[in-house]
Amino acid sequence: MPKITYHVGEEVVTVDAAPGSTVMLTAVQNDVGGIVAECGGNAMCATCHVYLEDGPVDELPAISVAEEEMLECTVSPRTPASRLSCQLPVTDAVDGLVVRVADEQS
């Protein structure tokens, strides 16, 4: 199973992720803190904001139009590493992905 590492504040959590899930869902289902995901994974609320830190970031899909709109609405500042974790599908290729959960979501 691909492993994903989340940095939440000072904490570092590595979890097994199920292919077909998303980086957001994996965090929520494993009680990784800091992700609100109010809209349920539909790129409508910008409350699952993460920064890509390390690992196979090139394996992730490009930012869609809908995600782009919402990334302009993040509460923590947007950087070139910003993504909405609900738009990051888990595949075997993203094994070893490291993300930092944005401090403020809503």
């Binding site: 809209c39 349920g40 994974g41 539909n42 409508m44 302009e72 609405c73």
Partner: protein
């Protein structure tokens, strides 16, 4: 014109009439029967498949390559023709282009400046209504913010605005299969489309309004000019009734579950979770549909290319395979993944506004009302929408 059945039908079938009066008023037993019959079940009366399990419905909504929207998302071919090309009924690049225009005023950032005003209006309204000791939760409470605030933001010409509630409701009736309710509503739909074409035009629209922004986007070439009238429907259709029905259902649920209202009153941070739970249990839009572009198997049942599948949000939201004790109203459940707003690329574009309106109202009510008691109620008998046409309550401070 009814939907043509596929040449071969394999998998489970049902002769349930899911759009009969009794089933619309109390759909839960039929939904359960369909969920238990299979992941998708062919409805003999309507020549369409029904998806009622959570996994099947989300899979369909999140797989637009196989289940496109551009052939329409309604349950009859006439209506699928009428709304051709609006944001709801498009896919891919065309959908991205028009959704980008429609979503602009509805992002969290765009709505932030409206928060204080909406909260203040909600508090003022709740003060006035609670002072009376009772009110109609539909006309007095639920309609207020959508009608005063939202229709002003949409910015349609004053004349005709009073028809908006009727139009929106009748338009959604036309989403149903070709039954009497749909047939009766088509004449009113004509009036709405006429207004969208001849009245919702530059010069008549409120300057700076959302509706005007559609024409501005067309002038810049971001969307085709001939799509403006159907794109008006993206705002005119769903901005009122859906929120109104959700608010009325919330009051009804809190009246029947006073312990849950106590929890919310004791901890206002539960309001967003409670709203999600209301939308899970009583999805204001119960079902849309998708066409099937290619033969596709869902959990062992083959959906043939060319057929149509109805996605029942209201049934998926009560799927015991996904939500434990699904009929229980639990304000602490926080089911953010409910399908009351749909899911995937066509997830409700107004969800942030709807949440904002509901949050403002229920925070204001929590400060003032300890109990809702239902005096009388009248459920809407509607092909698609679920909620109340009248819900008289008395309130205790």
């Amino acid at each position: 014109m009814t939907i043509t059945p596929p040449a071969t039908i394999t998998g489970p079938r049902s002769d349930l009439d899911i759009y009969a009066d009794a089933a619309l008023l109390d759909p839960w037993p039929a939904y359960r029967e369909l969920r238990d019959a299979g992941p998708v079940v062919f409805l003999d009366r309507y020549n369409m498949y029904a998806a009622t399990r959570y996994d099947a419905v989300t899979h369909i909504l999140r797989t637009p390559e196989v289940f496109p929207s551009s052939e329409g998302v309604m349950m009859n071919d006439e209506m699928n023709q009428v709304l051709r090309g609006n944001t709801l009924c498009s896919d891919g690049a065309a959908h991205d282009a028009s959704r980008r225009v429609i979503v602009k005023p509805l992002t969290p950032k765009a709505l932030r400046p409206l928060q204080d005003d909406i909260r203040e209006q909600a508090r003022g309204l709740v003060d006035r209504l609670t002072a009376r000791g009772g009110f109609d939760a539909v006309t007095d409470l639920a309609q207020y913010l959508p009608v005063t605030v939202v229709s002003n933001l949409v910015g349609l010409p004053e004349e005709g605005r009073e028809r908006m509630l009727v139009w929106a409701s009748e338009m959604f009736n036309c989403f149903g299969p070709m039954n009497d309710r749909t047939r009766d509503s088509f004449s009113v739909l004509g009036e709405m489309m006429e207004y969208a074409t001849t009245q919702a035009v530059p010069g008549k629209l409120k300057p700076g309004s959302w509706a005007e922004a559609i024409h501005d986007a067309a002038a810049r070439g971001e969307v085709a000019a001939d799509k403006c009238p159907v794109m008006m429907i993206d705002y005119m259709g769903p901005s009122l009734d859906t929120t109104i029905f959700a608010i009325s259902s919330a009051i009804w649920l809190f009246a029947h579950n006073p312990d849950q209202w106590d929890l919310v009153r004791e901890d206002l941070s539960l309001v967003p979770s409670a709203i999600n739970e209301v939308l899970r249990l009583e999805a204001p839009i119960q079902d849309f549909s998708r066409s099937v572009a290619a033969d596709h198997e869902i959990d062992g049942v083959m959906l043939p290319a060319g057929s149509r599948v109805i996605t029942f949000y209201g049934a998926a939201n009560r799927d015991e395979r996904h939500y434990p004790d699904p009929d229980r109203f639990d304000v602490r459940r926080n089911p953010t993944d409910h399908l009351g707003f749909g899911a995937g690329p066509h997830a409700c574009v107004g969800m942030n506004l709807a949440r904002l309106e509901m949050r403002a109202l229920f925070e204001a009510l929590a400060a003032k009302v300890s109990r809702f008691e239902i005096v009388s109620e009248e459920r809407a008998l509607h092909n698609i929408l679920r909620g109340f046409t009248r819900l008289d309550v008395s309130v205790h401070g």
